[in-house]
């Protein structure tokens, strides 16, 4: 029976070895040559030859065809020092019929000793792999989707009924940066539905309380706080740079202002509203689907625009609507599924019915029928009877 060292020596006699310099000289386009790293996952994650594909030797037979299907193409394998890749090369050559397979002498160790560059892939820490393991298991999210979530910047307008569950679930999902706009403080009457806040935090600014709630569930989230009211003078500055905006504001003037500013900056808005037992949800993706003004060209007059403060709302209703918003955000960020663009979802809690309505872009929309550059500062958030509306609303 041969020793391990003997086996490796014999394998090297049977296959062709290639010097790292020759592999390096093939960069960057390699003329169709495929370079495969046969080391273990953790070794590959630390660093690898730029552009190398990864097939751990233990999975060689089952996975190589998925990564390098053309058996007549030149294939260069490497490992840490050139032994595992020699054995793998022999397997591919003798048993799987690869015609031009080679093993890189000295592996990545020699490659690095020569001073050649390596690629350090982005990876999740062990803590992140554990924390997001249930996302990683879902193919629609997986590693790439989780990375997108970690890179995402999401702005929440309002840390109230809708913003509370949205913030908690997006924080839990690993959204990297979350902005929160709210000028209010936590009030006892909020706690029937605004679940990110707590009894102990009554009287605290909502942005601070929300930050604490977010960090309690996921300390890795960067929170940017805006303890202010959105108005025409600050909105562009605040929303610029965010990937998605979550609209949970409680008044019409801000909803129209947000619509116009987000169309101008082409930022999608996940919008929900609630009243009593009814919720509405839609995604307004500028120039892709309708905007809020296509749906409602003008708001109701103040006397016909009931608020939750005046009319009440079932505490769990913003829970379901806010979580639906969180899901739409995740879909937009990861690019999975069919976001609720051009559709309006109605949830009616008393009858437990969901109704899907179709929304269309209005060719005469005062905002999104024009180019972003044509939307002026002066008209943003303004609608007919705006002055009267705001006077009546106090």
């Amino acid at each position: 029976m041969a020793s391990g060292a003997e086996l490796i020596r014999r394998a090297k006699e049977q296959i062709t070895e290639v010097d790292p310099r020759e592999v390096h000289d093939l960069l960057p386009d390699r003329n169709g040559t495929v370079v495969v790293d046969v080391r273990e996952q953790q070794e590959f994650e630390q660093s690898h030859v730029p552009g190398a594909k990864h097939v751990p030797r233990g999975h060689l037979e089952s996975r190589i065809e998925g990564k390098a299907g053309d058996k007549s193409a030149r294939l260069i394998l490497y490992c840490a020092s050139g032994n595992r890749s020699a054995l793998a090369a022999r397997t591919l050559q003798e048993e799987l019929g690869y015609e031009k397979v080679e093993s890189m002498t000295g592996g990545i160790t020699l490659w690095k000793d020569r001073g050649y560059e390596v690629e350090v892939p982005r990876s999740l820490t062990a803590e992140q792999r554990e924390r997001y393991s249930r996302h990683l298991l879902v193919p629609e999210i997986g590693f790439d989707g989780q990375m997108k979530l970690l890179d995402a910047k999401v702005l929440l307008l309002g840390a109230g009924g809708l913003g509370s569950p949205t913030a908690l679930y997006l924080a839990a999902a690993g959204v990297g940066t979350m902005g929160i706009v709210d000028d209010d403080v936590v009030d006892l009457s909020n706690l029937q539905r605004q679940v990110i806040h707590t009894n102990e935090r009554i009287g605290m600014p909502k942005v601070d309380s929300a930050e604490q709630g977010i960090h309690d569930i996921n300390p890795g989230v960067e929170v940017v706080k805006y303890q202010t009211r959105l108005d025409a003078s600050n909105i562009l500055e605040i929303i610029e740079g965010y990937d998605v905006i979550v609209d949970g504001v409680d008044n019409f003037p801000t909803r129209y202002l947000l619509n116009d500013a987000s169309v101008r900056l082409k930022i999608p808005v996940v919008s929900a509203s609630i009243l009593g037992f009814d919720g509405q949800l839609s995604v307004f993706a500028p120039y892709e689907g309708p905007c809020y003004r296509c749906l409602y060209p003008t708001p109701p007059p103040a006397e016909l625009a009931p608020s939750c403060g005046a009319n009440g709302v079932l505490g769990a209703l913003p829970g379901i609507m806010g979580v639906l918003q969180a899901i739409e955000v995740v879909k937009l960020v990861t690019g999975s599924g069919e976001p609720l663009i051009g559709r309006l979802l109605l949830y009616e809690a008393l009858g437990t019915t969901f109704t899907n309505l179709k929304l269309r872009r209005d060719p005469d929309c005062p905002i999104c029928s024009r180019d972003p550059g044509e939307i002026s500062d002066e008209e943003m958030g303004v609608f007919p009877d705006y002055e009267a509306f705001c006077a009546a609303a106090g």
């Binding site: 309002g158 109230g160 009924g161 809708l162 913003g163 609209d247 949970g248 504001v249 409680d250 008044n251 019409f252 909803r255 929900a272 509203s273 609630i274 009243l275 009593g276 037992f277 009814d278 509405q280 749906l295 409602y296 060209p297 003008t298 708001p299 109701p300 016909l304 625009a305 009931p306 608020s307 939750c308 009319n311 709302v313 913003p318 309006l344 109605l346 009616e348 008393l350 009858g351 109704t355 899907n356 309505l357 179709k358 929304l359 269309r360 209005d362």
Partner: protein, 91 residues
């Protein structure tokens, strides 16, 4: 023939709390709404103005906005579902 109408929270104070009702013998959305106006005092003023819908109220038949169909002349058929939907800002 009969059409089902869904009434949102904001309007239920003029529909005696009804969240859903049916209208018989209507062939257009306009006739459906007329049927409702006969039944519910005060509903007309809440959603209509000068014979047309107010701009912040949308009406859908079978999930389609009637503004992109034939407006109040949009025809309805037996079993259709009509949804009245004013803008809501609550958060």
């Amino acid at each position: 023939m009969s059409v089902t109408v869904k009434i949102p929270t904001q309007l239920r104070n003029v529909t005696a709390g009804d969240a859903e009702t049916t209208v018989d013998e209507a062939t257009t959305v306009g006739e459906v709404l007329d049927g409702l106006y006969d039944r519910y005092d005060g509903l007309r003023d809440r959603i209509a103005e000068d014979g047309d819908l107010r701009r912040f109220v949308n009406v859908y038949v079978g999930g389609e906005d009637i503004r992109f169909l034939d407006g109040l002349d949009t025809s309805v058929e037996d079993g259709d579902e009509v949804t009245i939907l004013p803008a809501v800002a609550g958060g």
